[in-house]
């Protein structure tokens, strides 16, 4: 037996421990601070988004003409919409407008962004960027008033210019197809600047090395754009298309000023129907019902876009 004494293990002095509640307090304080910073936005969203949405849903169940007290109507407003040809046509017009306007807007913006992103003096690039973005900061209503003059069939500058080269007057705003095409043209001219800026930003984020590697492998300009630029730009394209579609589904000023929905109903959009039903016919319940349907449509289209984007959007 050895007399080796095993030294007694002395417990190490415990490190000075923080008070038990300190991390929790820090967490709570962080959460409180975050809540304080978020509060104005949350209040804004609740007051200006949630309350009106809920208000519209509730109002869509009532008959209300502003003057008298609202009367409960149940689903009567929705039943009325089912048989209202103007409402149905307005949804069709809005969807047609959305598809054509957004497609054209993205195409124009992308082509111009690629062009501006090419070899070009910096000052000229700035000029183009400003010029393309400029229409977006103007009021849609005032632009539409000017365009109405320019596209007037009898006295407009556009037909006058066409007349100089022997083209007969075009019924830009007075034929069914011409009116929709002109409204789309004016809308795209004003709106493409936003997508254009997004694309310019997106193109700057495409790594040069990838292009250089592709060039070494013998890829040509078009192939590089199709197989490298576009896939890498797809997140930007998703954002631009989501914003573009939501805006297009709510189009109002351009058709309202340019054509007042005509000829017939050919350019009447859903938001125009909401405005006319509420503020001209004083049927706020019915107008709210149309608004609820538009809300559902926008939600559905946006959800579908995000769903489909899983297949087409590539993140680096």
């Amino acid at each position: 037996m050895t007399n080796t004494r095993i030294p007694a293990v002395r417990p190490r002095p415990a490190p000075p421990s923080a008070p038990a509640d300190r991390p929790a307090t820090r967490d709570r304080r962080t959460r409180l601070l975050a809540a304080l910073f978020l509060a104005p936005t949350v209040v804004g969203i609740v007051v200006f988004t949630v309350v009106p949405i809920v208000g519209s849903v509730v109002l869509s169940l009532f008959h209300w003409n502003v003057i008298d007290s609202p009367r409960f109507a149940g689903a009567a407003n929705y039943r009325e919409l089912a048989g209202d040809s103007t409402v149905l046509v307005s949804f069709r017009n809005t969807l047609v407008f959305m598809v054509l306007a957004v497609a054209l807007q993205l195409l124009v913006a992308l082509v111009l962004a690629l062009a501006v992103n090419g070899r070009m003096p910096v000052w000229l690039r700035s000029v183009f960027r400003s010029a393309f973005f400029f229409p977006l900061v103007l009021s849609a209503a005032s632009i539409s008033v000017v365009m109405k003059y320019l596209f007037n069939q009898d006295f407009g500058v556009v037909n006058w210019l066409l007349g100089l080269v022997g083209v007969a007057p075009v019924p830009w705003l007075t034929s069914e197809n011409g009116a929709m095409a002109t409204v789309i043209l004016v809308y795209v001219w004003q709106q493409f600047g936003f997508s254009f800026l997004l694309f310019v930003g997106g193109l700057n984020n495409v790594p040069k090395e990838v292009h250089e590697a592709a060039a070494l492998d013998g890829a040509t300009g078009l192939r590089k754009h199709l197989h490298i630029t576009l896939p890498l730009l797809s997140p930007t394209l998703l954002v631009a298309s989501v914003v573009g579609i939501i805006n297009a589904l709510q189009v109002f000023e351009q058709p309202y000023v340019l054509t007042d929905g005509g000829p017939g109903d050919s350019t009447r959009t859903v938001v125009m129907v909401i405005y006319e039903t509420a503020f001209e016919q004083l049927r706020f319940g019915t107008a709210s019902a149309v608004g609820v349907l538009l809300f559902v449509l926008i939600m559905a289209v946006t959800a579908l876009q995000f769903r489909l984007s899983r297949r087409f959007v590539h993140y680096q």
Binding site: P23, A24, I67, P263, G264, L282
Partner: protein, 469 residues
Amino acid sequence: MTDSHLNRRALLRYGAYGAGAAALAGTAASWDRLTGADIPGRDDGSLVVATLGPAYGPAAIRTLTEGFRRVHPDIKVRINAVQAVDWSDFFAKILTQIAAGTAPDLVYVATEGVQLFARRLGVPLDRWVKRDAAELREYFADVHPALVESMMYEGSLYQLPVEFNAADIYLNNQVLRRAGAGFPAADWTRDDFTALLRDMKQSSGSRFTPYFWTNRLWGGVVPWLFANDTNLLAESKAPGGSWLWDTFYPADRRAGRGGGFRWTTPQADQPRVEEAYDYLASLIQEGLCTRPEGGNGQNLIGVFSTGRVGVTPAGGFWAGGLHLAGMRPGTFDVQFFPRWRTQRMQFGAAGYALLRTSRRQDEAWEFIKYAARRDTLTRLFETNQTTPARRSMLTADRYAESGPAHWRVFYDTLDRFPDTAPIPAPPQVAEVEQVLLKHTGTALSSPRSVRPALRRMQGDLEKAMERDV
């Protein structure tokens, strides 16, 4: 694991935060700041008068407020000039104010809104008119009964008309000369009108439009319906009104007058309506007039004054407009709307409607009377921006500077054709107008489109008229 219980120190700290927040909130609440009540005139006992903004410039507003103050120093008045594109936009904004609890006492209302306001919002003026009959005799003697009748609804009077405009035809004298055509006779016919348009077209270039018309309730297709002795909605008269006619108008001038117009039954698919549309479609096909959607009043003065348009329907308001645009007397003139089956014409009038919500109804009535006085209207309508409702105001002096030479046409439209009537404006007028504009565009897209478009118009009008406004 965190301790969910607050210790004493934390409790004190949160208590201090709470007290601080309460103190801040209290300070903010008691801070002297602007509220809706600080808007000049709101809740200060002023009589609030809503007018269609563009028609009332600062000088007109001064005329009304300062002039009224001189007559009634005890009544404060505030003019609320509401900016709006047209009457339906104006009514929408007024209704929004009413919904917001800031209803004016008086609203300037045109024919388009007379029945809507009368049915839902207005106060009949009958008791005040009866009370002040002696004072008002001079007014009614000066105002055509057709204008007064257009402000009646179901036997009661809701407004005193202060202005009106009939759809007469303006002609560009330069274009007439170019076409070698003389000034048309007062009883010219629809065929004379068509022949004149053809002459104008022949003598001018391809980029000339003989007849410019706009797609709207007033001055659009409706005057052609009147001339063809029909209307969009079957027209009848409400009983009553004799309390007014017997008091203020002699027997020959009150004959046939009733308690206001009733427009109840749509008749857009009737043959005479179709005939009027067919006529306009033929003018479009022949290149003699604009398509309805092509034109609007905004660019009309420009193209008319530069000789790119020959004729257009417009009221007395255009005399002032053309003058301001630089057209001198002698360069344009005005004639009655051409005869078809009849030469009955259409007009639109306007006056002040008193709202039920007003707490100053007696003061409001004083303002209505003041606004209809001859001296007030003379100062208000200096620039011939409209046709005054008072016959005595239409004098050679008034039109010497602005023209036209045949200025008598403005009031003679009523005097020579006493069955001239207001545009069809039932309480559902907004929807009626919308339906009219929509289907008129479709109807005139080709000659074959007229009948199907009118059938659809009829269906939509029936639905609109069934709605209780």
